[in-house]
Every structure is written in C-alpha cells, then in structure tokens.
Symmetry: C2
Subunit: 670 residues, 2 copies
C-alpha cells in the first residue's frame, strides 16, 4: 500500500491523459493483449480472516487500540464503552447552555406524551414517566448519538401493548406488568447481543420503504385508537384494525359520545396542529409545537378542575403514583411459560425499537457530519433497556418527534437527555398529583398531533417515483397495519423486504452488450440503442455474482437468448440465403460462433456447474464460451475447478474488446 | 430487434477491428465524450409486466400458443400437460426395445429396494411396491424427463419415517398409515402448487453444496439403521444419530447379534459392492449391479427356505400382502389435528423429493441435451403423488441409482417407467408370497449398497477447492444429519444456504480500481498489481446493485477507504511537504478531489438515500462524487429522485476513463 502511495505523490505521478490507448493494438495484425490478472493465491486462513473481518468488523473497531500501552488501552476501552468519558473532557458552559434549553424543551414535550404512550401499552401512566427517567440517563453515558432523545415512543408502545394483550388480559394487572418487564428485559438483551456480536446489519433487512409504510400505518392505527379518548367513548374494541375501530365508533355514536370531551379534545387538537404547522413553516418558532402540549395540559387540567367536568362524563387521568421508579428485578419472569412469551415479544419489540433508534441516529449524524457506530449504539440501547426493565421501565428508544425538537433547540451532546431526565425526576417526585384532573381527551390529542409526523407522504411519493417494488412494500406494510394488525403489517413488511432480496439473488439483471460506434466500449444495447451487436457473437453481462440461487436461471436465460436470436436470424434471412452463401458462409450452418460472458465478479460451486453445463450445450452447437474481464475470485475458482482448462486458458480475456477481436476475424473470412 | 438483425447480416456488417478508439480523444483538448444512454422511459404497466414475466415466466411457456387457431391451441395445451401425446406420435419399435430392456432392469432393481425403503418409512413392505406401481404410470404420461426412474427413494423414506414417528408411534399402525397418506397428499399438493404458480425457483435455494452434504449424511444414517437388520439385533434405538445407534449396536453385542444373519448379510453385501464396483469400472457390465440385488434376494430366500434359518433367529420378511393397491381416498385426514401435522410433514418431504427429482432430471437432460421444464415437471410430480396418496402409495420421486441404471440400460422415453410399473404389478399379483422367507439382512445389504452411491467424496473435495463457505454448508448439513437428526441437518443446510445469500446481499464485493499501464482500462488494483491508482481520485466499483440491504455498508466502506488513504498519504508525505507545495499544491488541503463510482447496475430508494448522504459527506470535504457507466435503471432513478440534478448531470460519464479525464486535469495544475 505504502509503495503505491509513494508512487502517487513522488515524481512518478502517473499521466492519466497519456498512455497508449488500449485500442491501439486493434489495428495491428498481432494485437498485444493484456493478460488477465492472477494474483498470488492467499492462504486459507488469511482468506477466511479477511472475509470474517469484512463481514463483522468492516469498521475496524480495534484500530485505535493498535500500538498502545496497556493503561492507554484500558482508557480507550472505557472511552469506547462510555463515550461520555471522551466528549465529557471537552464539555464547557457554552455547550451546556444549548443542552439545557434543549433538555427543558424535550422534557416539556415528553411528560404529556409519556403518560399517553403508557396508555397505548396498556400500562398505568407513571410507567411512561419512569421510562423517561432511567433509560435517558444510561444512554447519556453510553450512547454515541448527540441528538437523539430517549424515552417511550408511540409505535413501540402500541406494538408492545398489542403483543402483550394477546398473551395476558391487561385487566390482570400484576401479571401483565411482569410480562411487560420480561419483554423489556429481553428486548434489551436482544439489542445488546446484536451489537456485541456485531450483527447490527440484520436491522438493515427492513427496507426503508417498508419502514415508511409501517410507520404511517402505525400512526393511523394509533390515531384511530385515540378516538376513544377524543370522543369519550366508554365501550371500545380491543382490536386495532380500522374496520373494527370505526364500527366501534359508530355504534357508540348515539349515546356513547360525550360532547364536553369532544369539545376539549378537538379544540386542543386544532391548537396543537396549528402550533405544529407554524413551527414547521417558520423555524424560529420551533419551540411552539414543543411546548404546546404542556400548555394544553395545564390549561385543560385547570379548566376541568374548576368546572368539575369529570362529573359530566369527561374522563380524567385520576391517579398517577408519586415517587421514583421502584425496583422490578424480582418481577421479571426467568422461568416458566411466560419466559418464552416474554422473550418472543421482547425480540420483536427490541428489533423495532432498534430500527427506529438507529435510523434517527444516522439521520442526525449525517446532518451534523459525525459518525454513529451502529453496533456500539445497539449495546448502549440494549444496556439501557436491561437496566430499565429492572427499574420499572418498559421498552424505550429514540423518538422521532422529540429528537427533531432536541436538534432544533440546539442540543450539543447527550447532556440534554440528562437534563430531561432530571426534569422527569422532579415531575415524579413533586407534581404528579397535579395531573389528576388532566382529561384523557387532551392526551389523545397530544398523541395524535405527535404521530401525524410519522405519516411521510412525500417519502411515499418519492418511493413511487424511484422504485415500484419498494412502493408495493411500503403500501403492503401500510395496509397490513391499518386493516389487519400491527404484527401482520410488520410481518408483511419483513416478508416483502425478503422477497425483494430473493428476487435480487434469483433473477439478476442480465444484458446483451453491443459496441458503441467509434469506441471500443461495449454497453447494454437496450440502454444505448446505437450500440451494435457484433455479428456471430453474443455478448452477455450478468449484473451479479453467479451463485446457486441464480446459476440455473442464468444458464437458461443465455440459452434462450441464443434460440431467440437464431430464430429471428433464420426468419429474416430466409430470402437472402443465396446471397449469404457467398458473402459469409459460416453463418449458414451456425449463426453464432461465440458467447462472451462479461464481468463475472464471483461464482460458487453451483455457478461453476452451470457454466460447465452451458459449455457442454454450446459445444454441441459448435459455439465457443469465452470469458471477458472475470473477477479475481472467479479466476481462482476457475483454476481450482479446472474449468479454465476445460474451456482453455486462451478463452479468458481482459476486456470484451479483446475477446471480440480474437473471436471475430474468423466470421469475416469468406 | 429485426432491424438490428438485418444490419448484422446485410452489407453493413460492423467492422469490429476498426472504429475510432474511445481513447483517441484523450489527447485532444476538447474531448468528445460519449453520452450516457438514457432510453425512452417505459410505461409503468409495460415495466411491471416485463418484471413479472422475467420473474415467473422467464422461459416464455406460452410462446408456442401464439398465432394459433383455437383447436390447435387445445391440442398444444393437452400436449403441454401430457407430453406423451407429443413424443408418443413418433414412438416406434426400435425405441421400445431400449425402453423394454431398461424397464426390466430397473424393475429387478426396484422390487427389493422398495421393500427395504418401505421399512425405512416404518411402513409394511407392500406399500413400497404400491408406490412403484401407480406413480411411475402417472409420471410417464405427464413428465418431461426421459431418463428418470420413479418410485420410493431412500432419503425421502427415511425423512418421512422420522417425521411421522415424531407424531405417531409406528406401532399404532392404522393412524400412522393414515398420516402417511395425508403427508403424501400434501407433498403432492405442494409440488403441484409450486409448479402451477411457477415458484419452482424456490428449490434453487437449497445450494448444491448443502445437498451434497445432506445426501451423504442421510446415506450414513440410513446405513447405520441397517445395522439392525444386518446384525440381527432385536432391540434397536429409534433415534437416528450415530451416537445412539452405535450405543445400541454395542449394547446388543454380547447376546443380541445373530451369527447366521451376519453371515448372510455381510457375504451378500460384499457381493453387491463387488458387483457395483465392476459395473462402475467396466461400463458394459452395467447390468451386473442392476440385477445383483434380485439375484441376492432369490438365492438368500431359497437358502433360508431350505435351511429353515428363520428358526435360528434369522429375521425374515414374513408376510407381504398380495394384490394391487387398495384405494386410500377415505384414509386421508381432511380435518382435525392430523391435517395440520400431515400438511407440515408433506411440505418438507415434498420439497426434498422435488429437489432430488429436479436435480436428476436436469443432470440427464444436460447429458442428452434436451430441456426439462422445471415448473411443468413439478406439476407432473405433484399430480403423481396426489393420485398416489389415494391409491395407498407414499411419497415417490426420482431415484438417483435407478435413474442412472435406466440411462445406462439405454432407455429412450418414459415408457421404461411403464414397463417397470407392469412388472411391479405382476409381482404384486403373483409372486409376493414368495418373498416370505426373504431375510431382512438381505434387504439391509441391498439398501446399504444402494445408498453408498449418495456419498460423493469427489464432489466434496471439489467444493473445498472452489469455495470454502460452500464447504462449511456441506459439512454442516452432513454432521447435522449424522450427529443429530435428519430434520436438523436439513435445517442447517437451509440456514447456511440462506446465510450465504444474506452475506451476498449485505456485504457485496467492492474494489478500488486503477489504470492498467498503456491502456484506458481500469481494473481492480488487487487483481492487477500493475494497475496504478490515479492520484487524487478514488475509483470504486461495487459488484452488486445498491439496495437497502447493503446501502449503508457501501457508504461506510467508501468513507473508510477515503480515511485510510488519506491517513497513509499524510503519513508518507510528511517529510515531502515542502516539495509538494510547489509541485502539486491542491494535495495539501485535501488529498482527494473526486470519488468515482463505477458500474452501478441497480439501485433502490435506500440506495439513493445512501448516495445522498455520501454526497453530503464528500461535499463537506470538498470532494466530488462522480458516476461512471451507470446502468439504465440507475439513470432513470437518479432522474426520478432528482439526485442527478443534485450532483449535476455533467458528473455522469460513460466510462471510468472519461470520468478520470474530466476530474484529473485540475489535479495536475500547480
């Protein structure tokens, strides 16, 4: 490496504009053909080590530890585990100012949201506040994102609530709570394990499009659930699909709706949405949507308290337990039937929480141009949820809406999370009783105004424009969530994402290449209509490695192209046959003399089998199989399998142009 | 298409050796750059239709139906469903001669095998014979392979037996039998459905390497099971793993072994293996291994009958029901708990049976150079098993050993299956009582000698040579089957196959390109050590489409390359900095001026996001992002997402050489 680099900087800087053009030799009779590179074979262990490194340690996490003393390694290790030790040393007052303001802003936003989200998960309201106290603290010490705001979020709360109530009826409070902690514990274990074993890439399998659809569907579902609080309906379905919910709403229309509740709910919803709109339009009013929820809570609570509206059917929060998080270590199920159930729910909720947090982390890291280490982040999130599960918290993660507010309020580091955490602590210790008269309707409107932001119509339109298959995934997830249930929507999203991968590996794009006029460049004849196919030679490029999953398809595809072209050729040339005999006799017996396979990058055992079968089929028709520009690994494997000997070493060329040159002359001879 | 073809044949045959070289313009000051192709946008429905066609109908099954009259279409349709109507019309006596000999040969081989295989599936011996009567008949009418020999096979029998006895104890004869028919029915349904919905490519997901390992493991397991019959052990474990079986064998060593049985078994096993060896060495003796089993059965049965060895502990077959297949329609479970179990077992057994049959069909089709339509074949196999399940047959498929014998005996069409079927019918009607005194030991040695051929050590060595990951899959499946159980081995095989696909899509190969001296060709600098990197330009090629599953990895990989090279560069150039200021000042502020992305073939929404993020990160470092030779779809999508405007239309080039030319001049200016 260093040798090459010196070359680049030394006097011998390569002249890119000079050099003999590769095609110069094309006019000679004895062309100079550049040899196909055959690098020295690597040792097996080096090879395996390199593959493993590229798969699991592609970010080279141990690089800073190289050539350091032991004590320095310890410090670096601690800093890697607790990034606060690194950035904390440069922390100063001016940074704290930004963090303080941001922290206070997100605290004012999170408190009412937490109470509402806890209800989505069928938990008493204080558990939402608990989850905004411990997890952000833990994250601040271990996390590497500077902008994320940690706490309970709508989608995970809904998902957890749905999954839990499938197993235990929420009215069975104690067991339900225990299962929730068990699930949270295993969500944390899942997250930390994925990070520790560097399997973070698994969350990349949920495609962006599927997430957009899933989030929008979840937002609709969550909003529909809020109709209960917003309209003051007492008997409400437990299902989450739109049909059941709307039926529930209309059944209750005549006697179940409560006009006072509707008045409070709708008017504050309008207020919140307007505040949101203003905040979006004018960036300097970003604080308006951030504190609007708290203002609404204060005003509505006060008016209910004065008017005693709760006696006229307006449902209120009633009771929130005062005090900090109690311990819940001994409430987690470590044995029995519920262990398995909690584990299953935890894995699903943990993965979704992870997907959301990592997406947020990456988005803001890209905006401020710093790196977020996905695997390290997972360990941080996992630890935070494990500790959370032992201190009466349920699954927490990064919240889209609060992180955006945090960012806009000018946060500098994770200290804003610590500030928020302190405010939540104060709330728990001092002011929870004040929430007694807070109407449920106001919580409903806060949740609706929060989740509306998850519906990203612009993203959906862009997806439609860019990739239709992605759009199907997006809509599949969306309608799955809205019309069936959250789990089914998630399942559809995962299934379609996987279907896309399967499609990609079983049906790779293939192209016929032609020569661009006045160049030696060969390109897809569909993309470049001016590219001309070389007579008698079929040039094929497969845009993928040839693996077991596609080897048969590729073989059959090429054979079918041969048949197609031959049919066309004989159909068109029937009347011209007399002429042809004189002009180019070789074409009469056989239309093709060679198939050139361009740019195969990788191959496996099944791929080599397919090539062998293709070679055999072509041989029967007197057609040669030629390889142009094969990749390094392909050359190695062709030799290992002695397929290179089978087709002949001289059938492997550096470029398509070289290959055509060697095959073509014979076609032009009379 | 036809226009292009006429060009090829007409007077304007393209001159491949001529044409201005693409690099000619490199020496000019105003280079002529070929434009990147932007084909007219296809309509949405055309696009979707084309994708669907390529995915499910890539073999264009409806082509013969085009432009035909209605009655002709009906005939063609019938012929497509029953290929016998097509080849039957050209059938003649000379073909029949070959088929008759082949049919008699495979019949003599299949009768003793069938009886043994039925025992592997824990079924009474006559069910093996039943399964060699009806299914081959059905297949002869519907199948398109000319060489496959249909009937029960060892691996599927073992798998079915193992799966069934997990659900019902085989001593519960009636229910066990009913579940076996139910599983067979659903195996057929699975196969026919996969074929009908053209999902045949799903079986390609079991990689060749995994199958080699699975088959070898199954062969070992089956052979171990035969130790019971071969050694005359009465108490034998029900588990199939090697540890349990060997413990069982040695526990029985002192009093459980029966020397007469061992004598018969081992001597005939030696005879069979020698016959097999001779048949392999000298092709003209191919009939020897084919009829050796029947000879062994006749001789051993006769000697047991004469010596009354059954009274000295030699276990014999005892009773085989006489007569043709009874109906079993009303024995299939269409309701209740066993329906689900039967379905699950049927799906697994059906898929494995399919994999085996298709592999055989393809192998022999490639040898004789005819096409086997995978999807049509699946419909044939499925129908055959559905009908089989109603006529007391269990899952039948193509047998490796018998198909090879069929091929070598000179079969011409599926008529050899009909001949075999007739012989089995005669056997059922007339000579089953004669099998009464056949010793079980002889069946054991016949099975061992048959499955030994499934252990393909050469293939395993080749896999090791070609692809180490494939070898892991192969060994994983092998040891899974041998040491744990058939299902676990199968699960390991599928899991490793999938892991490979995931690896392929998440960690595509990436390469840094350099310019080959005296050409304008850019190649992987690892493969071609003589290739020189262009100073100040990082040229990257990703050997895969950029999809959601790898977009983050690719982005991070490229950024890391930048950092690596910059580090190296600054490290190496520290002492030279004075020199550099004069010579090439642009390098001092920033080491790179452009990243060229070569040959991106496809991209999706997540990929475009990643490119945008990469662009933003590069912009912050004053580095340009340049695309060279993007695929058709990529160009479309770049425009749809307006990413093309973001980086600028003039940053997209036809070739890497063009891109370097446009970026490079500035680096050389002082």
């Amino acid at each position: 490496m260093s040798g090459r680099v010196t070359d680049k900087l030394g006097a011998r800087v390569m002249d890119v504009t000079g050099g003999a053009p590769s095609s110069r030799h094309l006019s000679d009779n004895l062309p100079y053909v550049h040899k196909v590179g055959k690098p020295p074979r690597q040792k097996l262990c080096t090879e395996i080590a390199a593959t493993l490194k590229e798969t699991f340690f592609h970010d080279d996490p141990l690089r800073p530890f190289k050539d350091q003393t032991k004590s320095r390694k310890l410090v670096l290790g601690l800093q890697a585990l607790f990034p606060i030790l690194e950035w904390g040393r440069e922390y100063n007052l001016s940074k704290f100012k930004g963090d303080l303001i941001a922290g206070l802003t997100i605290a004012s936003l999170c408190i009412p949201q937490d109470i509402g989200y806890a209800k989505l998960a069928n938990l008493p309201p204080q558990y939402g506040l608990y989850s905004s106290f411990v997890p952000p603290l833990v994250y601040a010490f271990m996390g590497s994102s500077r902008d994320i705001a940690i706490g309970p979020v709508a989608v995970v709360s809904l998902l957890l609530g749905t999954l839990l109530q499938h197993e235990i009826d929420p009215s069975n409070k104690e067991e339900y709570l225990r299962l929730a902690f068990t699930a949270t514990f295993f969500a944390g274990i899942t997250q930390a394990t994925l990070g520790f074993f560097r399997l973070g890439f698994l969350i990349d399998f949920l495609s962006h499009a599927a997430i957009v659809g899933f989030m929008a569907g979840a937002a609709i579902t969550i909003s529909l659930q809020q109709l209960k609080g917003l309209l003051g309906i007492k008997k409400f379905t437990k299902k989450t699909d739109i049909v059941s919910v709307m039926r529930s709403v209309f059944t209750a229309a005549h006697h179940g709706w409560n006009w006072q509740t509707i008045l409070i709910g709708v008017s504050f919803l309008a207020f919140l949405l307007i505040a949101k709109y203003i905040g979006k339009k004018k960036r300097k009013f970003f604080w308006l949507p951030a504190i609007a929820p708290l203002i609404s809570v204060i005003i509505s609570t006060f008016s209910v308290y004065i008017t005693h509206a709760e006696k006229h059917g307006v449902q209120i929060v009633n009771h929130i337990q005062k005090g900090v998080n109690p311990s819940s270590v001994n409430q987690i199920y470590f044995t029995g039937d519920y262990l398995v159930k909690g584990f299953r729910i935890g894995v699903v909720a943990g993965m979704i929480a992870l997907t959301e947090a990592i997406a947020i982390g990456r988005t803001f890291a890209a905006m401020k141009d710093y790196q977020v280490d996905g695997n390290k982040e997972m360990v941080a999130l996992g630890t935070m949820n494990i500790i959370g599960s032992m201190t009466s918290c349920y699954v927490a993660t990064g919240s889209f809406s609060r992180s955006a507010v945090n960012f806009m309020a000018g946060c500098n580091t994770a200290v804003s999370n610590i500030v928020m955490s302190c405010v939540v602590l104060l709330t728990l210790e001092v002011i929870t009783p004040l929430f007694k008269y807070t109407p449920n309707a106001i919580l409903a409107s806060i949740i609706i105004s929060a989740v509306v932001g998850l519906i990203d119509i612009e993203a959906a339109i862009l997806i439609w424009k860019i990739d239709k298959f992605d759009f199907v995934a997006c809509m599949g997830a969306f309608f799955g969530v809205v019309f069936i249930s959250v789990e089914i929507g998630l399942l559809i999203a995962v299934a379609i994402s996987f279907a896309k991968i399967l499609l990609q590996v079983t049906r790779p794009r293939t192209a016929l290449l032609g020569k661009l006029p006045r160049t030696t460049v060969y390109r897809n004849i569909q993309q470049y209509p001016e590219a001309m196919q070389v007579p008698g030679i079929l040039i094929v490029r497969v845009d993928s490695a040839i693996y077991f999953s596609n080897s048969n398809y590729i073989k059959e595809r090429i054979l079918r192209w041969l048949v197609d072209e031959e049919e066309q050729l004989t159909k068109n040339s029937q009347p011209k046959i007399q002429y042809l005999i004189v002009e180019m006799s070789p074409f009469i017996d056989r239309v093709f003399i060679a198939v050139v396979f361009a740019a195969v990058t990788d191959i496996d055992t099944s791929g080599i089998h397919a090539l062998e079968e293709l070679h055999r089929s072509l041989q029967k028709r007197d057609i040669q199989l030629v390889l142009a520009n094969p990749g390094q690994v392909v050359i190695d494997k062709l030799h290992a399998s002695s397929f290179a000997n089978l087709i002949g070493e001289d059938k492997i060329f550096l470029t398509v142009a070289d290959a055509v040159l060697m095959c073509a002359p014979k076609t032009n001879e009379p």
